[in-house]
């Protein structure tokens, strides 16, 4: 697959923005500067980036509780994201959503969701809307290995299969549902195996290889746009941080996984691997990479400053936005 330089660099920037943003959110959460709890996706940058890079602006996605990366990959603005996490009125959702629910509907994101598995039928419906409206937009649905045990997973794959809906079900399999190892609660070794039950393609990719994710998604998108129906794409990956930031305080350092396992996955860092690819295979200069890293850090500093300096919502806002009218 021939991928242009702009696309290659756009993907690198996306991964850096996710890494920097998530690292900062983790630090701010641990420092007690933001309310509530946060789920970060450090280590999973390649799946969100590779999938969204294969989409058009008018294509839609659904996201989940670990959704910051999806929004960034789809083009989210860090300032408004950070402000939302701070609960400020300048945030994407005016402070009504918070970390688990930051979205920009104008980017075609139909909700980040606090309910595991909730995004799957919504994505099927979004794809259905394209069919009803006679458009060829597709919908990508991000969910985890845990969600694949929800009834909504099975109902949505069946529905999308029988109606041949233009949807790509993207399972970011990071090995854990909250604090429970996937293999102890899941009947299959690979989530993609479940595609067979619904007579749709099930594809497994190295979720830490952004090019592989991008290429597999592009194929699934082409199928979907051609009216050939859904694909289940499983991205094998790993979350470096816990289920929720700060979990060590209540479950200890090695409550459910060994440090050695985390270190092993860190050696498979999707960003370092992609950098190596860019430098050696794609002939991108080190200077270009450094420039993107520097720009991203500056952007993030601005975002934190913006969030800190923004006002909290006026309490009169508590009753707005329930209904259109």
């Amino acid at each position: 697959m021939d991928v242009g330089k702009d696309k290659l660099l756009e993907m690198y920037r996306s991964m850096q923005r996710i890494r920097e943003f998530e690292s900062k959110v983790r630090d701010l959460s641990l420092a007690g500067e933001i309310p509530g709890f946060v789920h970060v996706s450090i280590g999973e940058e390649a799946s969100s980036t590779g999938v969204c890079a294969a989409l058009r602006k008018t294509d839609r996605i659904t996201s989940n509780h670990r959704g910051h990366g999806h929004l960034i990959a789809k083009g989210g603005t860090l300032k408004q994201m950070m402000a939302e996490i701070f609960g400020k009125k300048t945030g994407y959702c005016k402070g009504k959503g918070g970390s688990m629910h930051i979205v920009d509907y104008s980017l075609g994101i139909l909700g980040a969701n606090g309910i595991v598995g909730a995004g799957l039928p919504i994505a099927a419906g979004s794809a259905l809307a394209a069919v009803i409206a006679g458009k060829d937009d597709v919908t990508a649905c991000f969910f985890g290995d845990g969600a694949s045990n929800e009834g909504t997973f099975h109902e949505s794959l069946n529905l999308a299969a029988v109606w041949k809906l233009p949807v790509i079900f993207v399972c970011e399999n990071n090995g854990f549902g909250e604090f429970t190892p996937m293999q102890t609660v899941t009947s299959v070794r690979d989530i993609a195996q479940r595609a067979k039950a619904y007579n749709i393609p099930g594809v497994i990719v190295d979720g830490n290889n952004v090019m592989e994710v991008y290429q597999a998604t592009s194929e699934a998108v082409a199928r979907a746009r051609a009216g050939e129906g859904p694909t289940l794409l499983e991205c094998k990956t790993y979350r470096w941080e816990g289920h929720v930031v700060g979990e060590q305080a209540f479950i200890g350092e090695e409550g459910y996984r060994q440090k050695a396992e985390i270190e092993e996955w860190k050696r498979k860092c999707p960003i370092i691997r992609y950098e190596q690819f860019l430098l050696s295979d794609a002939k991108i200069s080190k200077a270009e990479i450094t420039r993107i890293v520097d720009e991203t850090r500056a952007e993030l500093e601005d975002a934190v400053k913006f969030a800190r300096e923004s006002a909290l919502p006026d309490v009169s806002e508590v009753t707005t936005d329930v209904f259109v009218r």
Binding site: R60, T62, G91, Y92, C93, K94, G95, K96, G97, H101, V103, D104, Y105, S106, L110, G111, N113, G114, I115, A118, L120, P121, I122, A123, A124, G125, S126, A127, L128, A129, A130, V131, I132, A133, T139, G151, T152, E155, S156, N158, L159, V162, W163, T320, D321, V322, F323, V324, R325
Partner: protein
């Protein structure tokens, strides 16, 4: 104006609204056949793209309606029996109801859900429950309970055009009721109660299928010089408090008739509003006539005992006026 059945009124509203807006479509269990008549014939006019049989998978297809609404279409989603909503509670209560608010007003959720509720003769507890109270305390849903064919048509058309999620509850026993219904574009606004009959001695607030019963009772009592004002809220959310409170200020006595349960029901909710806002107007305790707090039983005498009938409504009104 033509005299048509409740079910035909639904059918008429669906035809008209689907004709009016190409982004409306109908989905649900057996909507192609139109098992109960409401969606019959839509397939011939609008085709398979816009009239979609779903698998029996409520979480899946209700969730899909949510996604389709947010993505710019206007789904009309039928959940055959209202008790089946329990299988899709997340999709209705966590998703449809909340995503607009949680996104700070970004999401628009123009879905109409239709579902049959109520005791209709031997359907037993999982097909006979009056479930709207379960949604009353979920902020973000509009709840519509039509009491006859004309309102059914006018309210359903308004619901379909509404940009928020609306659940229209259709009582199974009303399906074969008949009345004059305006032809063509007849709209009944959401949030406007109907004063079905004016009176001066007592306000009888009746919901859904209790309205025809309340009218019968009011007519009978009129002959005995008890003047009953019958109010049909028509929509529980939004609720037309003004019409209710004005009536209470006039009659000073209130009876609420509802087929839902006593505890935590719509009658309890309306009673609380009246007690809070019109306590000084009341000359007698507010009386609720509701179903017993039991699952609706199967056997006909048990079913009749569980849900309120004309006699209970009449007794309630007599108690309120001390007659």
């Amino acid at each position: 104006m033509s005299e048509i059945y409740f079910t035909q009124a639904i059918n008429q509203a669906l035809f008209e609204e689907m004709e009016r807006d190409p982004l409306t479509f109908v989905m649900g269990e057996d909507v192609v056949l139109g098992a109960f008549g409401a969606t019959r014939g839509l397939i011939d006019k609008f085709g398979a793209k816009r009239v979609r049989n779903t698998p029996i998978a409520e979480a899946g297809f209700v969730g899909a309606a949510v996604g389709a609404a947010m993505a710019g279409t206007r789904p009309i989603c039928e959940v055959e029996f209202a008790s089946f909503f329990y299988c899709a509670f997340d999709q209705v209560c966590n998703q449809a109801a909340k995503l607009r608010y949680m996104s700070g007003g970004q999401a628009k959720m123009p879905i109409t859900f239709r579902a049959v509720y109520g005791a209709m003769g031997g359907a037993a507890a999982q097909h006979s429950e009056t479930v709207y109270a379960q949604f009353l305390s979920v902020a973000g849903l509009k709840l519509v309970v039509p009491s006859g064919p004309a309102d059914m048509k006018g309210l359903l058309k308004s619901a379909i055009r509404d940009d928020d999620p609306v659940i229209v509850f259709e009582h199974g026993a009303l399906g074969r009721t008949k009345e004059d219904v305006p032809d063509g574009d007849y709209l009944v606004p959401l949030g406007k109660a109907a004063v079905k009959r004016e009176g001066s001695d007592v306000t009888l607030i009746a919901i859904g299928a209790m309205v025809p019963k309340a009218m019968k009772v009011a007519e009978k009592l009129a002959k005995q010089k008890i003047s009953v004002e019958v109010i049909d809220p028509r929509t529980l959310v939004p609720l037309d408090e003004e019409t209710i409170l004005n009536s209470v200020a006039k009659t000073n006595r209130v009876v609420i008739a509802d087929e839902g349960h006593l505890r935590g029901g719509a009658a309890a909710d309306i009673a609380a509003i009246i007690a809070e806002k019109a306590f000084d107007s009341l000359d007698a305790p507010i009386k609720r006539i509701t179903a017993l707090d039991v699952p609706i039983p199967f056997s006909p005498p048990l079913e009749r005992a569980a849900v309120p009938d004309d006699a209970e409504v009449e007794a309630g009104v007599r108690a309120a006026v001390g007659a």
